[in-house]
Amino acid sequence: MKLVTSKQALVECLGIVNKAVSSRSSIQVLSGVLIDARPDGIVMSATDMEISIKAPLAGRVDQPGSLVVPARIASEIARSLPTGEVTLEQRAGETQVEIRAGESLFDLHSLPAVDFPQLPAPVGDGFTVGKAAFLETVDRVAPSASRDETRPVLTGVLIHFNKTDVRMVATDSYRLSVKQTPIESSVENTLQAIVPARTLLELSRIASGVADDTITIVPTENQMLFQVGGIYLISRLIDGQFPNYRQLIPETFDYEVAVDHDEVLEAVRRVGLLAQKNAPLRLRFADNTLAVSAESQDVGKAHEAMPIQYSGDALEIGFNPEFLEAGIAAVKEPTVYLRFISPLRPGLVKGASDDFLYLVMPIRLSD
């Protein structure tokens, strides 16, 4: 195998596929990247058996062939190379791959391509969706998914497509995000699946860097392929029943407060610095004032007040500062609406319309 590419192309391509490289697999070949040089082009692939990514590498193939390089060291080498042309060459009968750039020369141990698992290749009819609307929905919902593998279904995002909208739902059981977005879509009828949040966040990262306006999606029974700008991302789907999230959302709330988005977000960020080690962020609504405060033992305390329209009974409620901040940040409007029932019932964060809802369970305040 012999191919010629540039440092920048190599770094970018490795950067894309690297996210699918298995970090803790005991299978050595999964910690590598497959380089497949064919007369019609070069493709790099990586997989951790949950997510697989295939990306094209711009370059010239002098002699077709394929091999697997260890991902971490290959990336470090690529980044360290001088700018300009890079040649990768493996001579017949050798296991080493030679990486050459300028006067630098690396001989890197490689693994045979035959050891690399065959990547799943979903076949069937795909459909396209508008990229911007899809990614916006991902970015506002997926962060609420759980990172705790003990309840796998919560590590996923429930996605529901129809011809005019996409709806995504994620919850880590402490907060719940629901977003319904109008989208241009060529889906037949409707489609629902639970996609790992990690997949969607990776997709968002990759897709935001390419020029295409649409993402092609090919669903199968237990996998979903996303294709954008020549890059393929294939993900396992999560099996199981997504919880009935609708019944978690109280039908009515007793209090609603409208607050300036940026002002409350910044106050929560600032005061939240003093809500450490499980300490809650306190919100107190009374006499047309919202007071945000926090206190951490052995650290100190913080307080900030802002004028609001509120004349009801005084209400004091506590939240995990990160959860509240994430909810407010996900509302991309000048005014954010906070709805409450009592300090012991969930609170709702939303914008003017109901297309995005963020429900969050409070932290009980000590008296």
Partner: protein
């Protein structure tokens, strides 16, 4: 786990350890005598409170047969002219703290067991303070001079033997057991001197002809195991003066537990389950008092033949609500009770403790309301005693 390893490695290496057990003599009563010198020479009994039992009796009162844990009613019958006091508990804590502070000067390895006793690991302190025997004599004298209280001291190579030694010649005892002499030291002592040998076990041991600790050594360990389960095995080691436990300075609480030994063995599931509910209520209340939440719950079952089983379950996240633990405890008990013997003891414990977060779950929106109930009950119990209010399902004892 890491912390234990750290402490292990911080301990000085030595062929054997130098461990002392220090114990105030008739602690509460002695403090009362300091407070009111006219009490000296009279039988003084400190006790009362929730359970109505003797906490401490001074040595004069003990001559009448009064001893700690005895119901006050019995004590009054044995010693009608005694001076009965409910005690000054804050003062006892102060004295206790002064002793612990003093011990801290001699070793970083001080383990306070209760208000009136502590273990002290003096291994490796010879270069600083001289021979441990001299150090301990000095401590005993300082306690007398500075606190006007008498302590008894036992010095040995492990906690078990040190404790038996300090208990041997009370009051103001000073007993040293040299390395290698542990088994010989224990052998002539009555078997009930071993910590953990209570009246029930004692009568079973007497039935088997065991009177002294030495008699116990003659029984092959596997037979003890057969009769008393894991506890039997432990007993075999203790009888030989073996005890691997380290002196562990008090740190964060690692677990909270409560046990109940039935006066008569019980087979009735209703009684057993309501006992478990009451124990769980107590454990959870202490959990909330300490502002902790727990992930693991353990149920301990001891059958009439002393065979003991424990079973545990770990929750997906830490909790501090009674109702959650009731379900867990009853489920564990129903799974864990596999023999048809009656039960002599039940215990409930929680571990895997973390500082309470009170971050509740959207999927269980009832939980915060149940916790409010618990907190209200806690307030009532703090004010009027723990039996002031109980759930209907809980056995009051």
């Amino acid at each position: 786990m890491e912390r234990d390893d750290l402490q292990q490695s911080e301990r000085p290496r030595a062929p054997y350890r130098v461990i002392a057990h220090l114990d105030f003599d008739a602690f509460f009563a002695a403090v009362e005598e300091n407070l009111d010198p006219s009490l000296k020479g009279k039988p003084v009994i400190v006790g009362g409170g929730e359970r109505g039992v003797v906490a401490t009796a001074n040595y004069v009162a003990r001559r009448y047969g009064v001893h700690s844990a005895m119901p006050l009613r019995t004590a009054r019958r044995l010693c009608p002219h005694g001076v009965y006091l409910t005690g000054h508990h804050r003062l006892y804590s102060e004295y206790s703290k002064r002793l612990m502070d003093m011990l801290d000067e001699y070793s970083p390895l001080v383990e306070q067991v209760s208000l009136d006793e502590a273990y002290l690991d003096l291994t490796g302190t010879e270069k600083l303070f001289g021979p441990p025997v001299r150090t301990l004599r000095l401590i005993q004298k300082r306690v007398m001079d500075e606190l006007q209280l008498s302590i008894s001291v036992g010095l040995a190579t492990n906690k078990l033997v040190a404790k038996v030694a300090s208990d041997l010649r009370k009051p103001h005892g000073f007993t040293v057991v040299r390395p290698g002499e542990e088994e010989a030291f224990l052998a002539p002592l009555p078997v009930e001197r071993l910590p953990g040998v209570g009246p029930a076990l004692l009568s079973q041991l007497h039935d088997r002809g065991v009177v002294t600790v030495g008699d116990l050594v003659l029984i092959p360990p596997h037979l003890l195991r057969l009769s008393f389960g894991e506890w039997g095995e432990l007993l075999a080691h203790r009888a030989r003066g073996e005890d691997p436990r380290l002196v562990t300075p008090r740190e964060e609480v690692k677990s909270i537990s409560r046990e109940h030994t039935f006066e008569e063995d019980v087979g009735d599931a209703g009684v057993l389950e309501s006992t478990l509910i009451a124990l769980t209520e107590d454990v959870c209340r202490r959990l909330r008092h300490k502002q902790l939440e727990a992930r693991t719950v353990t149920v301990k079952i001891r059958y009439s033949d002393f065979v003991t089983h424990t079973c545990s379950h770990t929750l997906p996240r830490p909790m501090d609500v009674d109702e959650v633990f009731f379900e867990e405890v009853l489920a564990l008990f129903r799974q864990g009770r596999r023999r048809r013997y009656h039960l002599r003891l039940l215990g409930v414990g929680v571990s895997n403790l973390v500082p309470r977060a009170w971050q509740d779950d959207l999927f269980d929106q009832e939980l915060p309301l149940l916790r409010e109930l618990d907190l209200k009950l806690d307030t009532i119990r703090d004010k009027y005693g723990k039996d002031a209010i109980r759930r209907g399902a809980a056995e009051t004892r």
